[in-house]
Symmetry: C3
Subunit: 158 residues, 3 copies
């Protein structure tokens, strides 16, 4: 069992690096934050409360995340917008068998090219972290958006 | 005297749990973050500068906080809106006799049901933390809003 | 070489104190966060990508920062607006010869007197910290705004 302060710092750093990867337009590195067999979902608080499995975005392998990046690059989304993630500190909820559940609040601002900055989404990450080949990876990330009215053009990862 | 890194982590965690309690609509647990004899005020920076004691919200016991939650539940506010607190790290200002003063910047986004997300309030928490029955509790929380134009329907706790 | 957790806490605290100094309207203390010979720039992500040296604000000594504060006080900006900085945790990027590079995401809300609160700017601080006379100081701060459309009335320091 690792020390909980060490785990806190490792998870906080992983969250910061994850956010910088997206905000810096280094999307090709994004899948590397996940384990090979992973779950990535974007959903809304209302869906989660209702127990609905519907997701705005769903992937259950790192390969699917890579496919998503390729599609985003073809759509050339980054020409038109960028993101800025502002994250709260991670809240460690439980640990079991070297797997760590945490919850982290987020606010994502969207900056339109030559235009306004707006609050794009708020919510929380429900994460399951663990080590794979000695590196801390996301085994699960469920991004729960507070609003159900997420931009249907939702494109960049949260 | 406890170690200051330990205190920092304990306060940071208490702040995160406090925010999650509200954002998750578990208002009934909210008074438990306070000591029995406590002070909870919401005011504005302008009022504070002017030395005015006027508060938008005022309570000086945990019982009053519980009454407030009951009133909020009757008003059924949560049907119409939710909050997302984004907190800076706590800044420890002083400690004396096992009481700890800290200041923490906050931004609270309000999510209207089926509608827009907006910046509801920004400001800072001026807190006095201490231990009661072995648990870290708020002996004082003054939430100082930056704007004087706070929604008169202000309802959910900050 | 100092311990990296100590450095993390020292930098995080310096960032919080820097932000509070501005948000609390104690601008006269702001230059003291910098070393005597320092670099302070505000620029945009687009400018940085293009390799352009153009800055919205530029200063290369603490004296220039003091001059800027004097100018701001004459312009009496604080009568009309205030800021609230919400900072992510600092991300330590490298350390060499007791100098520490870090990157920190920021969101700055602007509160107009008697008026609305809006997202004024988002971006990241690219910082170089070091010790001068035993105190942690900024040797460089480049504030990179995500949007190129920064208010031409940009006045308060970021």
């Amino acid at each position: 069992m690792r020390d909980s302060a060490d785990i806190f710092f490792a998870i906080m750093r992983a969250q910061l690096d994850y956010a910088r990867c997206i905000d810096d337009d280094r999307l090709e590195e994004w899948p590397d934050f996940f384990a090979d067999d992973c779950l990535y979902r974007v959903t809304s608080a209302e869906n989660l409360r209702a127990g609905m499995e519907a997701s705005l975005i769903f992937a259950n392998s790192r390969g699917m995340l890579k496919d998503r990046v390729s599609a985003l690059r073809e759509a050339n989304i980054y020409e038109r917008q960028s993101y800025r993630h502002i994250l709260g500190a991670p809240c460690l909820l439980s640990q079991k068998n070297e797997r760590y559940r945490s919850e982290t609040s987020f606010l994502v601002a969207r900056i339109l090219r030559g235009g306004a900055t707006e609050v794009f989404a708020t919510g929380r990450y429900l994460d399951l972290y663990g080590f794979e080949h000695g590196a801390l990876k996301l085994f699960e990330r469920v991004a729960v958006c507070d609003s159900s009215r997420i931009d249907t053009l939702l494109a960049l990862p949260l």
